[in-house]
Symmetry: D2
Subunit: 279 residues, 4 copies
């Protein structure tokens, strides 16, 4: 049998980096988990066990920390770009991919004042960045994940087709809950990474205000709102799991349930995903 | 062989309850996961397979939802007390234990104004309640978990004993990070469940302000501060995992590291726990 | 306000230890995660920030690895006893608790023969050990967790009381599935730690063979069987979450469902726990 | 602004299905978690909130269970194909994707004999299937995940390049541990889904026997072995996280460590992935 190495990728995953900017007063902190992956012409490593091209993944990890010492990391996007460029320049590498998840911290407030060096990590929501460097240049994608939102009204689902397996009743008023994952591409060369908060606010406000006829319908409105508030992004991909809140049937106990008591379920769940692109 | 049923407990775990208070304008929401457990004289159930005393755990779940319909659930503590009392009154039950985890939601703000029916769940931090009802009456414990905090200075660890297995250097300035779990007991009969926020603030502010000589030292100061701000609590138990932030050695790369670049580690971790009681 | 340190405990959690016994042919391997916790008279550490009694948790971790070098670790129980005794002898310590979770590996088989140095970790099931050393001596508890079993028949649930919140129908034939957690105490001084496999087999065989009238009923039979096969254990505690398999209602689609198609649910779940003691 | 729906996909995730084949003696069981996703011309659903094309994800779930009643599910692959074909035929759908994870159960053995209706779920390893149906026809991919293996010798890593960030020493003898994820494509039209066990055995045996110069080197040998034992598969993709086992430095305690005592680490980890294709 003859076989060919059709695709390959290697690197270090889950490099946990915390940087304290101490020269700043008050202190600032950045907390990020980074994956580095490289593709390229590594056939001798795989086929012959010849490691002359195989930079150790341990070296990859060291590089991340050494770069972090020499970089302010004001935007994780820019830091990811620098890492991607560095790794793409190594022998045999055709493509370097940096994936970063940023864990946001808030400054603790004491007696109503921001504290100079104590922080609180709310958990849940995270910022994401992917930077890919290849012969075409560098492409950065920013995003967020685990942004959990819910609305208690202004959401219905009706008019859908009914086949022989359909039992779901139509509803004009349901609870809509989801955990938003979104990522957006910047126009090449012009990225202002400070737009994150504006995009996030557009997503949240649209979720809140939209008269939803389906998860798809709200997803599309959120995507349009994000494209509207930031001319520098060319497309946005949104993933919305439907975190079903099922109305509990209380009739067996002689009670009504006027859309008040729900069981929140984990599985199964509807999953709606789409990319909306500026034209 | 003869054997005796030395202890037993049964019930329903992970009952997911979401209640929307729609008669309020704006809507309010409570989101809680509840465990119900009963102890008692259930020998015939275990030994003989006689189920005449064995209320189904499914019934337990139904009861939680039916009670939720008829209760405002302004405080999860009071709701847990009612459930505990109900289950403790059933045949054969000597002790009922309700354990609840509340998942906090914040109101979404749109254009600077709170939205009437859209919410955001920050994730991470959760409120906890345990209500136990037995022949002594009902005891309520409130708490919080997964409150993640970090300080970039004002923390040292030195003067500790050095035995033959000690390699840790002394430090006068380290990053201190932890995920706080705390629970406190109310004086019987007088509980004002609205004190939660005050206790939480005392814990956070003390963590921030304390000149820490060890995790133990800071834990004790936090506990005292909580007892100080709320005369109705008689004791507090705090658990502080030490989320070690290890300084990265950059010397091999010709770089210094003036307390700036850290690797955040998950395991192993120091774990410090104590109960401080008012005397 | 005056406050007293009512209880305290500290140590290192999640120490990941893998030992290869290379002097053996074929190689043997032990893989264990260890928690060390100490209680004692540590008031000065908490109240005054005086660390002279506070052995670093980092030292604790080092000690585990140093002991592992000098011990065959033929039984995790005996290794845990040695560690507990060591830590209990340190200044101020009144009680040392070692908790260990062993991750079992199986030898890979190649062409039907056991391989001398390749192993497969099936995952799921784990062995557990707790050794506590205090002024009373040392007490060892062994156990297992995450042993997932299911039977497709020989399980019913009927004859239970029906109150106003009961909707569950009686059943004479249901799927019974659970994840067994068990722990048993050895008679002091006489423990033969090789009995694990025999106890595990008694638990599994009894689960399979028992005509179950309830989870409680089967739990009790399993406990008795374990006590029967090993005279050296004095009591056993078993925890059985009821992993409900709900029959899917296929009538809306013109189909019957003669106990064939189920939805396996994660939550909520019944939870049954008991201790059975030899008398 | 004008925007276009560049890509979209929706469906039901995490449908938990357990089927008992009772007409068989002894009983047989299949346990699987299924995701259904559809792509297609759903613009009116997204843009206009017009649900006439939007089959409810609840209907999708019902369909899975109804099909399960009418299918033996002897191979999850064939069941996934049937579902994919069904969903691809619905209005507006251009592509249906079924992703399934099978949780294997073993028959309990009692007194050395297989039990007719009691099962044990070892946990850990899972089988995976993806079936995609579009205008090109149906493509099935089978695989496995979470197959955890370790070898205590016959693994080295040396000869790799040393740049300014390289500190890793060369080693001729290290512990190699990984969690194998693999997936393979069948030649269209000829798939014999019974080859799974043969491919798995080839992967495990090659891992065990290979004189490894790197993870890449072993991955390639495993892929070739899989292609060798099954002429019906055209390519295989393997992902191998390097579960680093770091030798503990015991010199500070006056002890050597002849490759015996290791700390098993979770993060960071090397991650090696490749596709090997028959030519």
């Amino acid at each position: 049998m003859t076989a060919t190495l059709a695709w390959n990728r290697y690197g270090k995953a889950q490099v946990r980096l915390v940087k304290v900017r101490r020269q700043h007063d008050p202190h600032e902190i950045v907390d990020v988990t980074i994956d580095v992956q490289r593709e390229g012409a590594f056939e001798p490593v795989y086929k012959d066990g010849d490691n002359r091209l195989c930079l150790a993944t341990d070296t990859t990890k060291n590089t991340v920390y050494a770069f972090a010492r020499q970089d302010e990391i004001n935007h994780v996007e820019a830091f990811a770009e620098r890492l991607a460029t560095h790794f793409a320049e190594q022998p045999a590498v055709s493509r370097a991919r940096i994936s970063a998840v940023e864990h946001p911290w808030q400054r603790v407030s004491v007696a109503g004042q921001p504290h100079p060096h104590a922080f609180l990590r709310p958990g849940g929501e995270q910022w994401t960045v992917v930077a890919i460097c290849d012969s075409e240049g560098t492409q950065v994608t920013s995003g967020l994940t685990n942004l959990v939102v819910l609305k208690t009204t202004d959401s219905g689902f009706s008019g859908f087709p009914r086949d022989k397996y359909t039992t779901l009743p139509e509803t004009a008023d349901r609870v809509l809950a989801t955990s938003v994952t979104a990522s957006w591409r910047y126009r090449r060369g012009t990225a202002d990474f400070a737009v994150r908060d504006r995009i996030r606010q557009a997503l949240v406000e649209t979720f809140a205000a939209h008269e939803s006829r389906s998860v798809q319908h709200t997803l599309h409105a959120m995507a349009e709102a994000a494209l509207d508030v930031c001319a520098d992004i060319t497309e946005i991909t949104i993933s919305l799991p439907n975190r079903h809140h099922l109305l509990v049937d209380l009739k067996p106990f002689g009670l009504d349930n006027p859309n008040e008591v729900f069981v929140a379920t984990d599985q199964p769940y509807g999953l709606i995903e789409a990319t909306v692109r500026r034209t």
